[in-house]
Structure formats: structure tokens, C-alpha cells
């Protein structure tokens, strides 16, 4: 089921936050839908963690409104909100055992001790820590602490689970494994997950939708594919993956937009490929490294073709990155090519035909 039909879970209405003179959140307007895996993505200091903490109730907002499940949260303290949080440091209580940690939120639950113990057991099983209940929490590994923190937050069946950079302390392999587990867990419990991360790859992998934030504002809110293929500004394009930029001129606009770009010649773009958000150097067209390919002997372009010279070759095993300079363009463009068995890696200085397609381009102006 697509997430578009789901009801709204969280709504930000023109949220502002000041720390003294510092304007940390500058008019946030967004809705997060029920059951969605939503990410707040941005560089450090962009306000993503602050925004997450306004949902949890750890930060008051200076103006605007935060609504959870259509209820205004103004004046509702963190311990009365239907949200639970997984902290960046995990915040496992070091003086308690694993099961005491997981069952901590059930202290005020009227259920019997036996029922609570069963709920703790189920929560531990859900995160793959069955049988770890009696262990001392401070003796766990990073990945295990992460799981305890998840079980502890989910046992209260919150409407929203907040995750503050939960994977940043794990090593690469563990992180990738936990990404997959988190996605599965989210599908299983159906709770709205809101993830804060500075890792664009992590956001792309895990999220239904992503809000990219810069300097206290949401720059773009979209699903991962739209964000990658149609970034609405050069800044977003730069932050998410790699994008090549070429200076361009708009020739005419008549339904389609006629553009001339250095090295690529003239072509037409549809209206949805045209964005604002240039950085003041005039219009540019951008393309992702994998959307243009070097054509080997006997290959013909499916769409358009331009001549270029290879300036740099970086071999990655499964991939080769080529920096190529289109004829008449000053800056080199990066292309990423999947290596195919039996096909040589080209040398620096080789003249090459580059196949590309106007459909993969984005115009910023």
C-alpha cells in the first residue's frame, strides 16, 4: 500500500525555535503519515535533532504548533506523549539488567507481574535478544544495546517511535544489518518511525519519505526516488549522492523548455525537470554519474551522444569511476560505469563517446 492514503500522524505548523538569538527552526511545515518510515536528513546543525526533540517533548517550540494524532502537544510533557525515543547513546540504564531496562516503561502499567514479564520476553524476542534478559546491561555490545533500546521503546506501543541517529555508533557491517532489521521491524509493528540521520545513503535505504533540512528549514520533502532523480535545488542534489553540473542557457519555454548546455548541445526538457534553486551562478543542468555512459566500439547511443576526453580513472572492482571532460567544458564530469567481464578499463587520455539522455537531466535556475 502506498503511504499517500494513510491518515496524518504528525503535523508541524510553522514551527519556529530560538535558542537566545539563534534561530534553530525557521518555519517548519510538514505532515508525517501514520505507519510511515520518515527520515529527517541533513548536515549537523541543520535542526533535524531539534525537530525530533520537539515531537518527543524535550524541546519547547518558540511559535507554531506540533500535533500528534490531531492533538496539540503544547504543554504536554514528554512523559505524557504517545512517543518513545531511541537515543543516539542508547541511554541504557547501566545499573539495571536487560529485562529491567526493557520493562522500565511498564512500571506504571496496571497489569500483573507475570503479564509484564511476558511482554518483556516478547519484546526481547522481537529484537532478537531472547534469553538475554538476566544479563547486566553495561556488559552488552553496541549492537545489543541498540536492540535493548528498541525493545524498551517499543514495549509501550507508542504511536510514534523516534530514532536519533541510532546507527551512527555502529561499524559499517553492523549498521547495514541493523538498517534491514529496522525496516523489517517497522513493517512488522506498523508504528510510525521517525529517523534522524546525517547519512544520505541510510535515509535512502530506509525511508518511505525524507525531509532534507538545511539551516533550520526543510529544503525538500519527497520519497527517496524523487529526491534522487529530481532534487529541487543544487544544494539538495549535492547533499544526496553525486551530481555533475554544466552551465546552461534557457532558449525558449513553450510547454517544454529548450536548453543549450556546454558540451551537450541543444535539447528539450519537460516542465517537471525544471527546478529553482540555482546557487546564483546562473542556470545549470545536472546529471547523476550513472545516467551517462561511455560507449565502447560497436555500441550506439540510445539517445544522445557527446565527445569527451578521459582525465582520471578510479577502479573500484565492481565499478570504475571516470572523470571526463566534454569538448568545450572546463570542469570534468564524473561517470560511474559498472565493470563488465571482458571489457577493458580505459586509460587516461582516451577519447570517448559519451551516451546520455535529456530525460535524466535536471535544470536548476
Amino acid at each position: 500500500m502506498t503511504t499517500t492514503q494513510r491518515p496524518t500522524m504528525i503535523e508541524f505548523r510553522d514551527v519556529h525555535k530560538y535558542y537566545g538569538d539563534y534561530h534553530a527552526l525557521r518555519g517548519i511545515n510538514a505532515t508525517i503519515r501514520a505507519g510511515e518510515f520518515f527520515s529527517l536528513l541533513g548536515p549537523s546543525g541543520c535542526g533535524k535533532t531539534t525537530l525530533l526533540r520537539t515531537i518527543a517533548g524535550f524541546e519547547d517550540i518558540s511559535s507554531g504548533a506540533v500535533l500528534i494524532d490531531s492533538k496539540h502537544m503544547q504543554g504536554v510533557p514528554a512523559n505524557k506523549r504517545p512517543t518513545n525515543m531511541v537515543f543516539q547513546s542508547y541511554a541504557i540504564f547501566p545499573h539495571l539488567t536487560v529485562e529491567e531496562n526493557v520493562g522500565f516503561g511498564l512500571r506504571r502499567d496496571p497489569r500483573s507481574a507475570a503479564e509484564k514479564a511476558m511482554a518483556v520476553g516478547e519484546a526481547l524476542e522481537m529484537v532478537g535478544l531472547k534469553g538475554y534478559g538476566k544479563r547486566a546491561a553495561h556488559a552488552l555490545s553496541g549492537g545489543q544495546r541498540q536492540r535493548v533500546a528498541l525493545a524498551r521503546a517499543l514495549i509501550l506501543k507508542p504511536k510514534v517511535l523516534l530514532l536519533d541517529e541510532p546507527l551512527s555508533a555502529l561499524d559499517k557491517k553492523m549498521r547495514e544489518q541493523m538498517q534491514v532489521e529496522l525496516i523489517k521491524l517497522q513493517r512488522q509493528v506498523g508504528i510510525t518511525f521517525i529517523l534522524v540521520t546525517h547519512d544520505q545513503e541510510e535515509a535512502l535505504v530506509m525511508s518511505d519519505r525524507i525531509a532534507v533540512m538545511f539551516e533550520g528549514q526543510i529544503a525538500q520533502l519527497a520519497d527517496p526516488e524523487t529526491l534522487y532523480r529530481r532534487p529541487n535545488s543544487r544544494k539538495v542534489a549535492d547533499f544526496i549522492g553525486t551530481m555533475n553540473f554544466l552551465p546552461a542557457q534557457v532558449l525558449s519555454e513553450n510547454g517544454t523548455v529548450e536548453v543549450e548546455a556546454a558540451g551537450l548541445g541543444r535539447f528539450a526538457l519537460s516542465a517537471d525537470q525544471v527546478m529553482g534553486g540555482s546557487t546564483g551562478e546562473g542556470a545549470t543542468v545536472g546529471f547523476r554519474p550513472e545516467t551517462a555512459t561511455i560507449l565502447f566500439e560497436g555500441q550506439t547511443a540510445t539517445d544522445r551522444e557527446s565527445m569527451a576526453t578521459i582525465e582520471e580513472v578510479v577502479y573500484y572492482g565492481d565499478m570504475t569511476y571516470y572523470d571526463v571532460r566534454f569538448d568545450g567544458v572546463a570542469a570534468p564530469m564524473r561517470l560511474s560505469m559498472r565493470n563488465v567481464f571482458g571489457r577493458p578499463v580505459l586509460d587516461i587520455g582516451t577519447r570517448a563517446r559519451v551516451g546520455w539522455s535529456p530525460g535524466a537531466l535536471v535544470l536548476f535556475r
Binding site: 514528554a78 525515543m85 553495561h138
Partner: protein, 269 residues
């Protein structure tokens, strides 16, 4: 390690100079002679019996215990408030206020005692055990704040937030999470404050009125040479108690660090 023999000799000389006098305490506490001099006369435990039967000493001891326990409790309680405030909250004038709390650490006790004496007499408070406690709380509190600040600041703030997020109130979070985690610091603070108060002389002498405490009593007894061996015995007992208390304090400090997964940055022992 130590390369120069000069440094090695210096270190040994330093330690001998520091601890040899203390080593004399047990030697003369068990020496069968009223005269504190070599050669030794023989082994006896008479001085401990004499000490035990000294009624004045018992009164001084009870006074000292009352004062030390009260001072430790109050200093630690104030220390908890101050340490919590200094590590968690920001308020105007914070560095100045914390500075004032820590000031007695470097202020000569003589000055503190004189100032307190003048004020107490001025406002008509009779000198008693209570006035000694006031003075001791003043000088013990900075130590309590120093110990407890390190305990409070090594606490991850998100632990509190996590407990609050899981439905606890501010008060129950303090009781369930913060207090158990800083408990080793609290015990350390109690023991150190207790020891400082027990040892203290100047304030006890100035503010005690006609109430005698252990340190003042011991000093007084040195006027009577025949009493000195019993004082040696008492000194030996006090050294043993001090070592025991400091060891317990250090044990709890280290256990606290291990519990919260922190790193040892040096302590008392």
C-alpha cells in the same frame, strides 16, 4: 621508568620523611615505657587499656562522632544540590556562586574560624557542638561538591530523558536512575567529609566553647608526659580507621566508574 638514581633516592627519602613518624605510633603504642624514646622497653597493651578507661576521652570521642556524622550528612546533602545545579542547569551568576561554594577549600581555616567566632558571638549564639558542625559543614561542602560534581557530570543526560520519556516523573527519574548511579559518589563524599571533620582542629578549638572534641583533647593531653603513650595508642587506632575509611571511599568511587562504563581519571588512592 625511573632512570636517575638521584630521583630514586629522593623518592625514598620523601616517603620515609612522610610516613616514618606515623610508623612511630604503633611502635610506642605497644612499648612498655612512659618515656617516648629508644631503646624500646618491651611489649605491652596497657596503653590501650588506659585509653579505653579514660572517661574524658570517651566524651570527646562521642562529641567528635556526633560532629563528624552530622557534618558529613549536611555537607553531602548540600553537595548533591550544588553538584546537580552546576552540572545540569544554567543560571545567571553560576560561576560566581559555585566559586563561592568552593572558596573555603583555599581559604585559611584560621580566617574562617575567626570570622565565624566573631559573628556567632556577635549575634549571641552560644558556642557548642552545633557551632562546630556549622563550621565543619562549611569546609566539608567544597570537597563534597568536587566529588559529587564528577559523579553527576559523568552521567549521560539522555539517561534522564529516557526515563522521563518512558513515563516517569522528574522526581521518580531522580530516585530510580540518578540516585543509584551517583550513589558511589555520595558514599565517597560522606566518608571524605567524615574524615575531614574528625581530623579538624582549628574550628573545633575556636568554636567548641567548653565542649571538647577528639583532636582538641589529644592536643591537650600532650601537656602531661605520662599521658602520651595512651595518646599514641589512640593515634594508632585513628590511623587504622582513616585508612579503612579512605579505602572504602576509593572502592565505591571505582565501582561507580565501572558501573557507568566511564574511564578512571585518577582518584584519592
Amino acid at each position: 621508568m625511573m632512570k636517575s638514581p638521584g630521583l630514586k633516592i629522593y623518592t625514598i627519602a620523601y616517603l620515609v620523611f612522610l610516613y616514618a613518624p606515623i610508623a612511630l605510633l604503633p611502635i610506642f603504642a605497644f612499648n612498655d615505657s612512659r618515656v617516648i624514646a629508644f631503646p624500646l622497653a618491651g611489649f605491652t597493651t596497657n596503653w590501650f587499656v588506659e585509653m579505653w578507661n579514660d572517661q574524658q576521652l570517651w566524651i570527646a570521642f562521642k562529641n567528635s562522632m556526633t560532629i563528624a556524622v552530622s557534618s558529613a550528612l549536611f555537607a553531602t546533602l548540600f553537595g548533591i544540590f550544588a553538584a546537580r545545579a552546576s552540572t545540569r542547569y544554567n543560571f545567571p551568576g553560576k560561576p560566581g556562586i559555585i566559586g563561592l561554594i568552593m572558596l573555603p577549600l583555599v581559604l585559611p581555616e584560621m580566617i574562617v574560624s575567626m570570622a565565624l567566632l566573631v559573628i556567632l558571638i556577635g549575634i549571641g549564639v552560644p558556642l557548642s557542638i552545633f557551632t562546630i558542625i556549622l563550621g565543619h559543614v562549611l569546609i566539608c561542602t567544597p570537597y563534597a561538591v568536587a566529588i559529587l560534581s564528577s559523579a553527576f557530570s559523568s552521567l549521560d543526560r539522555s539517561l534522564e530523558e529516557a526515563a522521563y520519556d518512558l513515563g516517569e516523573t522528574r522526581a521518580s527519574t531522580f530516585r530510580l536512575i540518578i540516585l543509584p548511579l551517583v550513589m558511589p559518589g555520595i558514599i565517597s563524599s560522606l566518608l571524605i567529609s567524615f574524615t575531614i571533620s574528625l581530623d579538624e582542629f582549628i574550628i573545633a578549638y575556636f568554636l567548641g566553647g567548653n565542649q571538647t572534641v577528639l583532636s582538641v583533647y589529644i592536643f591537650g593531653q600532650f601537656r602531661f608526659p605520662q599521658k602520651v603513650p595512651a595518646i599514641m595508642a589512640l593515634g594508632f587506632v585513628l590511623v587504622c580507621i582513616s585508612i579503612l575509611l579512605l579505602t572504602i571511599a576509593e572502592y565505591f568511587r571505582r565501582r561507580g566508574i565501572a558501573k557507568t562504563g566511564g574511564k578512571d581519571t585518577g582518584g584519592f588512592l
